[in-house]
């Protein structure tokens, strides 16, 4: 009985993580389309939400578990999963508050690794695999994406240079909608599966499912819905940084960036070399700034992101380890205290974000170096 209650709570926490995954990453697909006006902000997040839902059903290739090959799965208990999720959620919310796009997969992996270390020691982590499958790809993926996007941007401006500026903008805005849709679909395919994997892992840890089982249908459906609703709610703070903060984007750049992101994400998952959607999308947007002559990349903003990426694994691991340590110190009901603390912290962060709100009304306001635009109120909203 006790265990079943824990299991239910872990599933709910996993879906909450999936939700933060969705809304943290809306910007990866839609930031450039919102910034160039190809789609009105609310239409963009709605479309992205629907396509994430569809994408989650498109492929179930990664139906294994996210921890597979990274930690000794024998050491993973329900409490470890809960603590790991807590680490992932806290990091996602903090970076969202700061408007920094950071990888949700890294946050989750970090949380699970931290919790596993606290539970079973550092030897339970497969460090070589962690380096070769997570850390090195994270360093390479933005470079690959930037290369593709810069090439695309250069080609698009070159090909369309004889057209009038307005006609070119019109045409590429249509192309942007298509390419951003592909990124949304790819995101649903990639990221929803990570939570499916976590819930399946929890079900196996609890003995509900046999080891090696695939995700049951209700798991697939609930994960697809959670990521889709999260996407629709829209992490406006992150969208703003990606669409306005990094590069001033025009529609040819937007189309090149989204096409590069979609291609690189889909190719990497089909070649079994899993890359973070966020790292790819950010690399693409920087590439679209590099590929256009005279465009400015705000390296200060990019540097802030890169710094956050370096801290994603260790910080979420620390939170995961702390949560696991706390749960172990208290005993059987420790996991409840963890989840209560998680809810309280989430509420605090949410309140802080409300204090200087970014939403569909001010997402495109002029970039003045801060995530939340200065309060000049409706007069500037044109």
């Amino acid at each position: 009985m006790h265990n079943d209650l824990v299991l239910v709570l872990v599933v709910i926490t996993a879906l909450a993580f999936d939700f933060t995954n969705g809304f943290h990453d809306t910007g990866n697909a839609m930031a450039t389309s919102i910034a160039t006006g190809a789609l009105p902000p609310r239409v963009a997040v709605g479309l992205s939400g629907v396509l994430n839902l569809a994408g989650a059903f498109l492929s179930l290739a990664v139906a294994a578990t996210i921890a597979n090959g990274l930690v000794e799965t024998g050491d993973v208990t329900l409490t470890v999963v809960a603590a790991g999720l807590a680490g992932g959620i806290i990091w996602n919310l903090l970076t969202w508050l700061l408007g920094i796009p950071s990888s949700s997969s890294h946050a989750l992996i970090g949380g699970v690794i931290g919790a596993t270390i606290a539970a079973a020691g550092a030897s339970a982590v497969q460090w070589h695999n962690l380096t070769s499958k997570v850390i090195i790809p994270a360093a390479l993926s933005p470079i690959i994406a930037a290369l593709v996007a810069a090439t695309g941007t250069w080609l698009l401006y070159r090909i369309s240079r004889s057209m009038t500026r307005a006609a070119r903008g019109h045409g590429f805005r249509i192309g942007q909608i298509g390419s951003a849709s592909m990124v949304s679909l790819a995101h649903g395919t990639n990221d929803a599966q990570k939570t499916m994997g976590v819930i399946t892992l929890a079900l196996i840890a609890n003995g509900t499912l046999a080891s090696g089982a695939t995700a049951p249908f209700w798991v697939i459906l609930s994960c697809a819905l959670a990521i889709s609703i999260g996407t629709y709610v829209g992490g406006w703070r992150v969208i703003r940084t990606l669409g306005k903060g990094l590069v001033e984007i025009e529609s040819p750049q937007g189309m090149a960036a989204e096409s590069a992101s979609a291609a690189v994400i889909l190719l990497s998952s089909s070649f079994g070399y899993s890359l973070s959607t966020t790292h790819v999308a950010t690399g693409s947007i920087i590439g679209s700034g590099l590929g256009k002559r005279g465009a400015e990349v705000r390296w200060g903003v990019a540097g802030r992101m890169a710094t956050a990426w370096l801290f994603t694994l260790p910080c979420s691991a620390l939170v995961g380890a702390a949560a696991e340590g706390l749960a172990r110190a208290i005993g059987t009901s420790g996991v409840f205290l963890d989840l209560i603390l998680l809810a309280v912290l989430a509420a605090v962060i949410y309140r802080k974000a409300r204090a200087n709100k970014v939403d569909h009304n001010n997402v495109n306001a002029e970039w003045t170096g801060t995530v939340a635009p200065a309060e000049t109120e409706p007069a500037t909203a044109a």
Partner: protein
């Protein structure tokens, strides 16, 4: 293959990424450019956002370009679906 860096996978992602991620949008741009050929766009003025120029040959080229882009997208979605839903083992 290096045990730290999977060069084979990275190489493939880069090559196919350039073809699909930069080549397809470039094809879309060529289609758009062909579509804009013709009298209508020339007389419309510098501020016009009219893309369709009215040349029949241009429209045909544009249609071919757009169809190839759509076909490539459809094919890639089918491939992903196939990976995700393997046929039952015989």
């Amino acid at each position: 293959m290096n045990s730290w860096i999977n060069f084979a996978a990275i190489g493939k992602i880069l090559v196919f990424g350039l073809i699909a991620g930069a080549g397809l949008p470039a094809l879309f741009a060529i289609g758009m450019l062909s579509l804009s050929r013709g009298a209508k766009a020339r007389t419309a003025g510098a501020d016009s956002d009219v893309v369709v120029g009215g040349s029949v040959a241009g429209m045909v080229v544009a249609a071919v370009c757009f169809l190839v882009v759509l076909a490539a997208i459809a094919w890639s979605l089918y491939e992903i679906y196939k990976i995700g839903h393997p046929a039952p083992a015989k």
